[in-house]
Point group: C2
Chain length 357, copies 2
């Protein structure tokens, strides 16, 4: 049965990198490995510019009717003066909330071919393979009350609310435990249970949920220590599970340990296996339109999409092998370029992956 993919390219380098991912999808479609139909829609600043809304209703409707969404990137300085409710980021947050994409999977993997790119010493990061499972539709990102009010004294007060229910914590812990069962069976739950009652409850729920996973080795770490340990000895981690805000910070920190964020995909899943897939890097407005952006994170996001939402694990494997092969061939976009390698542009890199498939 044909699966539906919605493509939302977004802003900055979004359209360029998504174009290369489309080549890969089309190649797999052409050789009969997958059966997909592809539509596209507006999101982010591009949608705001066209219709005054970073997440037009048609985009969300089309997303709901799809099996998976492929996102490029959103945002840029052009839209920063806008009110928070109209910013490109709202398109992304609205998509997460609207589709109920509560589970954000952010792998931090060091490609052996790119080991030199890391700012960390080789022995500290070689072989790094962490999966960060971030809660994505709750916590302080969505909690009420929120906003800025003026006090009787005339001064303003800004408020945001961190809130989790037990069931929200339980379901994200289950995702982490299920993933860990297919990996190293080690989960580190990150909280600030010594200060924040909400995350003290988080820890209790993690412990309780783990009772259903006797093989999982569950540990707990305060978020400040987790940030330290990622720098000190990142290979101690297998799967990490944490709140929306802590996951935002720690997953970016973990990604940067690899030195090549242009290589890292992500998946955001709901309870039905529907998912949104995107590179973890941003819209990089400074290099947009120049044809130099690295499309590999987006191409690897397609691999995650095939694996997690489109039930095509063999095709996913082929993409990942092809990416590894172009790296072996010495092809590098500017962001991962190093001595002795051959520098290529966005399109040439995409073509090389298609050829290697």
């Amino acid at each position: 049965m044909s699966k539906k993919i919605l493509v939302v390219a977004g802003d900055g380098i979004g359209p360029e990198i998504v174009a290369e991912a489309m080549k890969v999808l089309q190649a797999l479609q052409a050789d009969g490995s997958i059966d997909v139909s592809i539509e596209d829609a507006l999101i982010g600043g591009a949608a705001y510019d066209a219709v005054g809304d970073p997440l037009p209703a048609e985009t969300l409707e089309a997303a709901k009717a799809s099996d998976a969404v492929l996102l490029g990137a959103v945002g840029g300085p052009k839209w920063e003066p806008l009110h928070i409710s109209k910013r490109p980021e709202k398109g992304l947050l609205g998509m997460r909330a609207g589709l109920g994409l509560f589970a954000n999977l952010r792998p931090a993997i060091l490609y052996p071919q790119l080991a030199d790119a890391s700012t960390l010493k080789a022995d500290v990061v070689s072989g790094l393979d962490i999966m960060i499972v971030r809660e994505l539709t709750g916590g302080i990102y969505f909690g009420q009350p929120r906003g800025v009010e003026t006090l009787p004294s005339g001064e303003r007060k800004g408020v945001n609310t961190l809130v989790y229910t037990e069931s929200e914590v339980e379901r994200i812990c289950r995702v982490a435990f299920d993933i860990a069962m297919k990996r190293g069976k080690k989960v580190c739950s990150v909280d600030k249970a010594n200060v924040l009652e909400c995350t003290e409850m988080w820890r209790e729920v993690a412990v309780k949920t783990a009772a259903d996973y006797p093989e999982i080795d569950l540990s707990h770490m305060y978020v400040d220590n987790a940030a330290m340990q990622l720098v000190r000895a990142p290979k101690q981690f297998d799967v990490m599970v944490t709140t929306n805000m802590f996951g935002d910070i720690l997953s970016d920190c973990a990604a940067m340990l690899t030195g090549s964020i242009g290589m890292l995909p992500s998946a955001s899943l709901n309870a039905d296996g529907q998912g949104m897939y995107e590179p973890i890097h941003g819209s990089a407005p400074d290099i947009a339109g120049k044809g130099v952006a690295n499309p590999l994170a987006t191409i690897l996001s397609v691999a995650m999409m095939l694996r997690y939402s489109l039930d095509a694990p063999a095709a996913a494997d082929r993409i990942e092998k092809a990416v590894s092969q172009v790296l072996d061939q010495g092809l590098r976009t500017a962001d991962i370029m190093s001595e002795g390698m051959r520098q290529v542009g966005t399109a040439e890199m995409g073509d090389a992956v298609v050829a290697a498939l």
Copy 2:
């Protein structure tokens, strides 16, 4: 005029490391460089064990009557089962709130003698010298409402509240700007203004306050990007200013970039220049009582105390030079030991600093 110091050694290695800092204070007192009177009091788990309260009223009273407080460390697994309101950490948080210590200064400095200790490549961190200014008495650490309630459905919901008023943001920004004026005149304010309204207001106040500091080069960064940039290129930062929670995470991340958290002091100041001084590392229960802990962060906290609260900058300089000298002599505690150096215990390290004064 004699200044009053309150010493609260706390838990784990606290008493051992504070003992060495006391030797340094006494040596300076003996040679007439400073004129101080020293008292001590209970805090943390030690206070809970003795009187059932991690911050006894007498301790807070004695602190208020002092010019400065020297803290060892609080906490340990022994007290983790306690309710959050009785945990050792409450002693620390109560001291911060009780004394109004809103400005937390956390330097992340790489000692050239210890450059190898970092997990980062030498060129990325050599010469690193960042000052993180963390807001310490507001934000989600202290915001109301907070706690866990049971919903009609029977499931529990945990809540904490991030809240800042404009005046709270302004005063911490001023501290950061004042410090930057004596350094590189560059301040990076870290927020999550694209998602959290409270920190959108933070950014606005930072911009407004900067108008009084025309020489300061103020930039803004989202917290996830800041965590990335600390790993990618930490030397881009001079002074960073941020919220209580973000500061907790980023200052630990920055500290770990140096690879030697046993070397890093911190200061927590109120509007009157009263301050609490403590090493940034924790109570290290695993090595407590063994005489192997590194006392240098605590000794360097004394130097910060002399500089910021006791108006004795010359004595502060002498301590910092003495610490540098013992490192030059090749003395190392276990945590910073490397080949060719001489490993010493806590007391021997303290004695060496006194000798070098």
